[in-house]
C-alpha cells in the first residue's frame, strides 16, 4: 500500500506524455490499410494524406479524449462521487438531439458531407444541443446549489432528449445510419478546424479547472467543511459546471458519444497516484487523451481496411476495466 502511495504524480505525467508522443507517431502511421507510414515516400498525395487526414485526426482524437478526461475529473470532484461522468448533466444526449435535428433539416449525412460548412454545421448543432440540455438541467435543478437535484435533473434530461432523438430517427429513418456513427462515436470527421476548436476549449477549460483545484480538494471533505474553510461554494460550483459543460459539449460535438473515457481516466490516475486536484486534473486530461488516441489507433488498425467505431472499442475497454475494478474491490 505504501509503495503505491509513494508514487509521485510528476513521473506519471512524463510517462503519459511519452505515451502520447508514441501514439501520435502511430496515429499518423496507421492508415486505412493498416500500418502504412507515408513519410518515407515522397509525393504530394502522401503528404496530403498525412497533413490533411491523419495528423488532424490524431491530434483531434487526443484533444477530445483529454477534454473528456478533464471533464470527468471535474465531475467526480464536484459531485463527490467517483462514478460521476461528464455526461451526467445531459450534454451528451443533448448533442445527439442537436445533430439529429440538423441532419433532418439539411438532409445530409456525415458520410456524404465533405464541405467545411457541413462539418461546422454538425459540430455547431451538437454543441448547441449540449448547451441547451445543460441549461434545461440547470433550470430544472434551480441552479447548481443542490447536488442531488442536479444529478436527478441530469438523468431526466438525458432520458427526455434521448427519447426526442429516437423520435426524430423514427420519423426520418434515412438519417439512421449517419446518426449511428455519431451515437457510437467516431473520429473520422476531425479536420484542422475541429483541432483548433478543441485546442482552444481545452486550454481554457484546463486553466480554469486548475484555478479551482484547491476548492475541489476542500469539497472532498464535504460542502460544510469547504464552506468553513472560506470557499465561496456558489461561484466555484457555477464555474466548474460551466467548465464541465463546455468541455463535454465541445468533445461530443466533434467525436460523438464516446463512452467511458471521462469515467475511467480519473480512475486510472488515482489507481497509480493519490494526487490533489492540482495534479489530478491535468493527469486525467493526459490519461483521457492517451485512452482515446490509443483506442482510435486500435480501431483503425485491428480490422483494417475495415474500421471499428471507436466508441464501441472504448465502451468494451472501459467496461472491462470497471468490471476488473469491481472484482478487485467488492462494492
Amino acid at each position: 500500500m505504501s509503495a503505491v502511495a509513494m508514487r509521485q504524480p510528476a513521473p506519471l505525467g512524463l510517462l503519459l506524455l511519452a505515451i502520447t508522443a508514441g501514439l501520435c507517431l502511430a496515429g499518423v502511421a496507421v492508415g486505412s490499410l493498416g500500418w502504412e507510414p507515408l513519410w518515407g515516400g515522397a509525393g504530394d498525395a502522401s503528404a496530403a494524406i498525412l497533413w490533411e487526414i491523419r495528423l488532424p485526426r490524431t491530434l483531434g482524437a487526443w484533444l477530445a479524449g483529454a477534454l473528456l478526461g478533464l471533464a470527468g475529473a471535474v465531475a467526480q470532484g464536484l459531485f463527490r462521487n467517483p462514478l460521476a461522468d461528464p455526461y451526467l448533466l445531459g450534454s451528451a444526449t443533448g448533442a445527439a438531439f442537436g445533430v439529429a435535428v440538423l441532419l433532418v433539416l439539411i438532409g445530409v449525412s456525415p458520410v456524404a458531407a465533405s464541405g467545411w460548412g457541413a462539418r461546422i454545421g454538425l459540430t455547431g448543432a451538437g454543441f448547441l444541443g449540449a448547451v441547451l440540455a445543460v441549461l434545461v438541467t440547470l433550470g430544472l435543478a434551480r441552479g447548481v446549489q443542490q447536488t442531488l437535484r442536479l444529478l436527478l435533473a441530469g438523468v431526466v434530461v438525458g432520458m427526455v432528449f434521448g427519447a426526442f432523438s429516437a423520435l426524430v430517427m423514427f420519423w426520418a429513418p434515412e438519417i439512421m445510419r449517419a446518426m449511428q456513427a455519431f451515437l457510437l462515436g467516431t473520429t473520422g470527421f476531425l479536420g484542422w478546424g475541429s483541432v483548433a476548436l478543441l485546442a482552444a476549449v481545452f486550454a481554457l477549460a484546463l486553466l480554469v479547472a486548475i484555478a479551482c483545484s484547491r476548492p475541489l480538494d476542500a469539497l472532498s471533505l464535504g460542502e460544510t467543511t469547504a464552506a468553513s474553510l472560506g470557499i465561496a461554494l456558489a461561484p466555484v460550483r457555477t464555474v466548474l459546471v460551466g467548465v464541465m459543460a463546455l468541455a463535454t459539449g465541445a468533445a461530443v460535438a466533434q467525436v460523438g458519444l464516446i463512452a467511458f473515457i471521462g469515467l475511467v481516466a480519473p480512475h486510472l490516475v488515482r489507481a497509480a497516484v493519490k494526487p490533489t486536484h492540482a495534479w489530478l486534473l491535468p493527469l486525467s486530461a493526459l490519461a483521457g487523451g492517451v485512452l482515446l488516441l490509443a483506442s482510435d489507433v486500435l480501431a483503425r488498425w485491428l480490422l483494417a481496411p475495415q474500421e471499428l467505431p471507436v466508441g464501441v472499442l472504448t465502451a468494451v475497454l472501459g467496461g472491462g476495466y470497471l468490471l476488473w475494478l469491481m472484482h478487485r474491490r467488492p462494492l
Binding site: S2, A211, L221, G222, T225, S228
Partner: protein, 260 residues
C-alpha cells in the same frame, strides 16, 4: 470574565418542513470550553452550524463582538475552525494533503504552501499523533486514524475558536484522553472551544455546559454545578445519574435493579 465569543439572540432554524431551533438566547464565553449536550434531535449540531455561519437561520448571532454577516468569509475561516460529524470523502487524498487544507484560509488563491503552512501542518499532525501515516491515503486509514487526521486538519487552521461536532467518534480511550488534553491546551492558550458531545462523561470535563431539549435551551451553567447536573438528569428523563468519581464527574445510566 471576558467578553463572550458568541452572543446568540432569538436564533431559530427551520430545516425542510420542521422547526429545529426555537428562539434560542445564549452567550458562549471566550477562553473557555463549552459543551453542547442534549437528547437525540435536540438541535445540537444545528446550533453549532448556525453559530459557525454554516446554516441559514433567523435571529441574531454576534461572533467576537461583530455581527456574523459582517465577517468576510476568509477572515471568519481564519478565526473559526470547524470539525464536522462523520466527515466522509477525500478517500484518495494523502493525510498530509488533507491537513494542509486547514491552511486554505491563510493561502492566496493560487499561492503555494508557505513555510508557516508546513510548520502548522507538522505541528497539528504531531499533536494528534498522525504524522506516521502522512503519506497514506485517507481511504486506507481506520476510523480512529482518520478522525485524528481530520482533527489535525481543524487544528492546522490555528483559529482562536474551535467548533467540533462529535469529535470523539471512533477514538479509543487513550486518544480520547489525548483529545481532552488538546482541548485543554487550546483553552489554556486563550482559545475557545465549543463542542457537541454525546458522551456525557466526556462532556462533563468541559468548563460550561449548554443543555438543549426539543430545540430550546434547557439550561446553561458550569459543569461542576449541581444545578447543571439536575438539569442534565431532567432532560434525560431521570434515566441517568451524575456522580463524583476519582475527582471527575461521571454520568451513569440508571438501571432498574429489580428488572434483573
Amino acid at each position: 470574565m471576558s467578553a463572550p465569543a458568541f452572543e446568540v439572540r432569538g436564533l431559530s432554524v427551520r430545516l425542510g418542513a420542521s422547526d429545529v431551533l426555537h428562539g434560542i438566547d445564549l452567550d458562549i464565553p471566550a477562553g473557555r470550553w463549552t459543551c453542547i449536550v442534549g437528547p437525540n434531535g435536540a438541535g445540537k449540531t444545528t446550533l453549532l452550524k448556525s453559530i459557525a455561519r454554516l446554516l441559514p437561520h433567523r435571529g441574531n448571532v454576534r461572533f467576537m463582538g461583530r455581527e456574523q454577516p459582517a465577517w468576510p468569509q476568509r477572515e471568519l475561516a481564519r478565526s473559526l475552525a470547524w470539525l464536522g460529524q462523520n466527515e466522509t470523502g477525500a478517500e484518495d487524498l494523502l493525510a498530509r494533503d488533507v491537513v494542509m487544507l486547514g491552511r486554505l484560509p491563510h493561502q492566496p488563491w493560487l499561492g503555494a504552501a508557505s513555510a508557516a503552512d508546513r510548520t502548522a501542518v507538522d505541528a497539528a499532525m504531531h499533536q494528534t499523533q498522525c504524522w506516521g501515516w502522512r503519506d497514506r491515503a485517507l481511504g486506507s486509514l481506520s476510523g480512529g486514524e482518520r478522525q485524528r487526521v481530520l482533527l489535525a486538519r481543524a487544528l492546522a487552521v490555528q483559529a482562536p475558536v474551535l467548533l467540533m461536532d462529535e469529535a470523539l467518534a471512533n477514538l479509543d480511550p487513550p486518544h480520547q484522553a489525548d483529545w481532552l488534553q488538546i482541548v485543554r491546551r487550546h483553552v489554556a492558550g486563550g482559545g475557545t472551544v465549543v463542542s457537541v458531545l454525546h458522551e456525557l462523561g466526556m462532556a462533563l470535563h468541559a468548563d460550561d455546559m449548554v443543555i438543549l431539549a426539543g430545540g430550546k435551551l434547557a439550561h446553561q451553567g458550569a459543569c461542576a454545578d449541581a444545578a447543571t447536573h439536575r438539569a442534565l438528569v431532567d432532560v434525560f428523563d431521570g434515566r441517568i445519574a451524575v456522580h463524583s468519581l476519582a475527582g471527575q464527574w461521571v454520568a451513569l445510566p440508571q438501571v432498574e435493579r429489580d428488572a434483573a
